[in-house]
């Protein structure tokens, strides 16, 4: 009896396992596993914009993870799965948007601003130098 009581937490824990198993990525082989990992970490959950699919337990995230697992099992390529999801949910589903005509300013504006800053600093310092020389 004592043993039963002591092992109660363990039994409860084991009973919880099947609940997780519905979204089991363990059925995938190792290369599929890594695809699954990168897809779910690099795609945004559409209804909760600041969480990745892997991070979210919202219904839509669970749906999309199920879809991804199914497609990986069907031997679909990671790139194709990603492309399909982007075509369904739009470019905002990707955490790392591709560089193209629409996004180049987003990607490069920090560097442009840094360059402008550096130029300003150089010019200001130079002027001070010149003034210092005359003083």
């Amino acid at each position: 009896m004592m043993l039963l009581i002591q092992s109660f937490p363990l039994i409860m824990f084991l009973l919880c396992m099947p609940a997780n198993a519905t979204l089991d990525s363990k059925q995938l082989n190792s290369s599929q596993q890594s695809s699954y990992h990168s897809l779910t970490h690099e795609l945004r959950c559409p209804s909760c914009p600041n969480q990745s699919l892997a991070d979210s337990h919202s219904m839509i995230a669970l749906d999309l993870k199920k879809v991804i697992i199914q497609q990986l099992k069907d031997k679909k390529d990671e790139k194709i799965i990603r492309k399909n999801l982007v075509s369904q949910y739009g470019p905002s589903i990707e955490y790392r948007p591709p560089v193209n005509k629409k996004t180049w300013f987003l990607w490069f504006s920090p560097f442009i601003l840094i360059c402008i800053g550096i130029i300003c600093i150089i010019r200001i310092r130079r002027r001070h130098h010149v003034r210092g020389a005359y003083d």
Binding site: M59, I60, V67, Q88
Partner: protein, 186 residues
């Protein structure tokens, strides 16, 4: 003192003005409504599917059964309050002779059947789905409404509960136009 300093060094005003305009712009954006819920759909065509019929779980409904006529496709679930608010409007639209199909997302068929018996049923086909069709349509949550033409081409996509205004302003004219153009083709 401060103003004197700025007047003496006029070029210092420029970054200051840029900063102020940025603050004004960002503050303005902060209070903006999110971009309109009416959008051109990401998905162009109704995908192929074969899913259970809510009214008779032994039967399935396929894409081919849906096609052939312009129709509204309403995605909803019985546990979603927003969706039930739209119901009277859908009944009204149905009475005016428009065709409506439903996609029932993660819902219990039995509960929904009983509910529709009391409230009235606007749906010609009511498809039971657990996320496979909704994800391939790019649905984020319930309710959402699509307008498809006879070939299954998606004309409109609206996220959120359909209102009388949105129906009259956007969906109805497009529905009429789509029906008209299929009649010409025939």
């Amino acid at each position: 003192m401060m103003t004197d300093y700025f007047f003496q060094h006029k070029r210092l005003l420029l970054p200051f003005l840029i900063f102020i305009s940025l603050v004004v712009f960002l503050y303005h954006q902060l209070n903006q409504q999110p971009t309109t819920h009416l959008r051109p759909s990401q998905v162009q065509y109704l995908p192929q599917f074969e899913l259970p019929n809510t009214f008779d779980l032994q039967q399935t409904i396929t894409t081919q059964q849906i096609l052939g006529k312009t129709a509204l496709v309403h995605i909803w679930s019985h546990w979603c309050t927003e969706c039930t608010i739209t119901h009277p409007l859908l009944m009204q639209i149905k009475k005016q002779g428009y065709q409506i199909h439903g996609i029932l997302y993660r819902s219990d068929a039995h509960t929904v059947k009983n509910w529709l018996q009391i409230q009235g049923n606007p749906y010609t086909y009511l498809i039971l789905d657990n996320g496979s069709l909704t994800t391939s349509l790019g649905v984020k949550g319930t309710p959402e409404t699509f307008l498809i033409d006879a070939t299954g081409h998606i004309i409109l996509h609206y996220r959120g509960a359909l209102t009388h205004h949105i129906w009259q302003e956007h969906f109805q004219p497009m529905y009429e136009q789509a029906t008209h153009s299929t009649q010409i083709k025939k």
